[in-house]
Amino acid sequence: MLDTRTPLLDVSGLEAWYGESHILHGVNFNVHEGEVVTLLGRNGAGKTTTLKSIMGMVGRRSGAVRFEGRDLIGTPSNEIARAGIAFCPEERGIFASLTVEENLMLPPQVRSGGLSLERIFELFPNLKERLGSSQGTKLSGGEQQMLAIARILRTGARLLLLDEPTEGLAPVIIQQIGKTIRTLKQQGFTILLVEQNFRFASTVADRYYVMEHGRVVESFVTAELDAKLETLHEYLGV
């Protein structure tokens, strides 16, 4: 598919290091406004590191990360967030010393146009009931995941980076998260998703990139999914 618009997020030649270990070796991909794009790949392929590098959370990085045309490669983490990118980490990052409400209200608003609390509770009705809960980490795994997504919707960020939102969750909850992602897409959010569960990814994504050994090795759109199944199985080892 040829898309001639300027991408919302354009990653090119991205390299990243954790201490001495060189994790990303020139990652190239882009995400257009309103798309749901998925990074697939095995454990250790560099998917999470790619998201963290976009957010400026790795030790050292080079290459280019252009968001709305502005290169953020030398920008500190907190200013990248202020530019309008929000991150939901794999381990969910719910704070034990904060109440559920404090967790939800923690990320500062970086732009106008974030979802109101009412809209958030429409998406996640469970959360409203658990607001009074004393500790964020006392919620179930599914509720913690909802909370981790919900809190970044308030901020006004246009691009959401979701790292394995379905990991370790029951099928019912996974379905609910899928529905949420589709709703968010309809509301104009752009989403970059990292997934191991490619069956789940296929229910929400427009395009896919496959990563291996710190590089993007394959890309395709949902329509090509069937034709690509064989190669995919090889890459993902499923």
Partner: protein, 303 residues
């Protein structure tokens, strides 16, 4: 008046109630300083992971700044109570930017050694400049005299110290545990990288937290100036006990630092009444027992 007696096997001493209450008061006064100082240490440790051995020197600087403001600028006690914490806190901010910020990823030992070295340098400089005999600081006019409560005589200044310390301690607790700013602090203690990725300037928050912890020490120093002599070693003497208090309460627990600070002050005061020969060691005995039974401290969250 009545008398209280302790059991035969502990010596069977009998104490008039007047003596008991006045020691209790001294205990509360000492506890006020223990609480303020261990609170500052807990705030700093929670956020920076640094065991701030300069805390005693910063407390001493608070007292000296109060003294110097009075001598050279004619600024009275009340002004010193505001300006000394700001000035010493600013010195703390500079120290964090210059030295401490490079140590966060290293073992606790580095921060401890650095702040210990800085404390020795600061105390040496003050001893060189002002001698070690101590300088007097006048109690503010409004707080001289006292109240006869019937069962004891309560000097106004001591009552003020207890109330002011309690207010500042509980205010700090409220800010950290109950406000939006506090939720950033608590979250950044758990996972600074993620809080940063939400758009919060965590390094600046860390710097200001250190400045605030240091300002608490300076505030205690100003309050101590009229009671104790203003002397270069006033902090070094106190800080040993305060570290025992922090170990007992548990590093990084805000309420723990406050409760243990006041509690141990009172226990020390009572020991002075009933078992005077133990009063200098009782806190360390409690510390040893707590370390054996609950190594993380009475209120410690982390292991």
């Amino acid at each position: 008046m009545f008398e209280l007696c302790i059991p035969e096997f502990l010596g069977g001493r009998c104490i008039p109630s007047m003596a008991l209450f006045s020691q209790l008061l001294i205990g509360l006064i000492n506890g006020s300083f223990y609480a303020l100082l261990s609170l500052g240490l807990a705030v700093i440790f929670g956020m920076l992971n640094i065991i701030n051995f300069s805390h005693g020197a910063q407390y001493m600087m608070g007292a000296f700044v109060a003294y110097l403001l009075l001598q050279h600028l004619g600024l009275n006690y009340w002004m010193a109570l505001i300006f000394a914490p700001i000035i010493v806190g600013a010195i703390g901010v500079a120290m964090e930017r210059l030295f401490l910020q490079w140590l966060y990823k290293l073992d606790h030992l580095y921060g401890l050694l650095l702040t210990f070295g800085v404390a020795l340098i600061i105390e040496g400089m003050f001893r060189n400049q002002f001698g070690s005999s101590g300088l007097p600081y006048q109690m503010p006019e409004a707080l001289t005299g006292g109240q006869n409560l019937g069962f004891m005589f309560l000097p106004n200044y001591r009552a003020w110290v207890i109330v002011a310390s309690l207010t500042v301690c509980l205010g700090t607790w409220f800010i950290i545990e109950r406000t939006k700013l506090g939720s950033y602090l608590r979250a950044a203690t758990e996972n600074p990288a993620l809080v940063s990725a939400f758009g919060v300037n965590v390094p600046r928050m860390i710097t200001l937290t250190y400045g605030f912890g240091v300002a608490l020490a300076a505030f205690a120093g100003v309050m101590a100036a009229p009671i104790y002599n203003v002397s270069p070693q006033m902090g070094a003497e106190l800080i040993i006990v305060v570290f025992a208090v922090v170990v007992i309460g548990g590093m990084g627990s805000i309420m723990g630092a406050i409760v243990t600070g006041f509690g141990l002050g009172v226990i020390e005061g009572l020991t002075k009444v009933f078992l005077p020969e133990w009063s200098n060691t009782v806190i360390f005995i409690i510390m040893a027992i707590v370390l054996l039974v609950r190594p993380a401290g009475l209120f410690g969250r982390r292991t």
